[in-house]
Amino acid sequence: MQSWAHGILGGALIGLSATLLLWSIGRIAGISGIVNGLASAPRSDRAWRAAFLVGLMAAGAVTMQFLPYAPARPQSASTPILLLAGLLVGFGTRMGNGCTSGHGVCGLGRLSWRSLAAVMTFMLAAIATVFIIRHVTVTLP
């Protein structure tokens, strides 16, 4: 089990990552935006996106192999729910122009009201969804 110190440390590394990207090439480290631009941005604007995602996935995957608290690999949720959740996350982050990293880490760091509104909205929607799934029992008559 990871401790709060791992959380703060990991969070600070994520903050440093976003700072490095902004300082070096002037871009926002929003994962959903970087992914979406991979297909739709002008050709000259794609190489840094691909490089960022390669770094993200490679470093993350390697680190996971050495952690005592890495998540279990076998499928742990039903396929239809995984597909539905993926569709909603992909659709919603594109519609709302950002996810936990773009609106959360970077938007809040820029003190953007728009991002704060987005973060509050997706947090509340997610908390309500978990509440319904885990704590509301539907009793059929």
């Binding site: 959380g7 703060i8 994520i14 770094g55 993350g60 959740a85 993926g86 936990t100 909205t121 704590h135």
Partner: protein
């Protein structure tokens, strides 16, 4: 490799390292944070706090620079108003996030790390994003 590609690669690597160390690739840890009325796990709050403490401080200094180190200009979001697409999009994302506990970054890392859940989730996520692109394009054509 150009310098901007190397910078992006290093930035992505730091991000992936941070997500893995903080435990965010474990969707059950994330669901634990969202489960206020059950087995609450505050880990995500520590991660977000750690990240925003760094960005809130560092971005102020970076954005005072005349330009980024390796690019002509800062490319920040221009939209500032809170509109319906923002709130609807965020709400739809939130429901999907709450269903499983994956948001885009941890899902991509999980995919690379061999999590079977992510292998199903990520293709659906890309399809969802593409679906919005199609809907938006259709709306634009209809509005002309």
């Amino acid at each position: 490799m150009s310098r901007s590609v190397i910078a992006a690669l290093a930035s992505g690597a730091l991000f992936g390292l941070g997500l893995a160390i903080s435990g965010m690739t474990d969707r059950l840890v994330v669901l634990g944070f969202l489960d206020l009325y059950g087995d609450f796990n505050p880990q995500l709050a520590f991660v977000l706090a750690g990240a925003v403490m760094v960005t809130a401080l560092a971005f102020r200094f970076v954005l005072r620079l005349p330009r980024p180190r390796i690019a002509a200009e800062f490319r920040l979001p221009v939209e500032t108003k809170v509109d319906r697409p923002l709130l609807f999009g965020a709400a739809i994302f939130g429901v999907g996030w709450g269903l499983i506990g994956f948001c885009p970054g941890p899902a991509l890392v999980g995919l690379a790390g061999g999590l079977q859940d992510a292998m199903i989730f990520v293709p659906a996520m890309l399809a969802g994003s593409f679906a919005h692109y199609l809907v938006e394009r259709r709306g634009k054509i209809g509005a002309e």
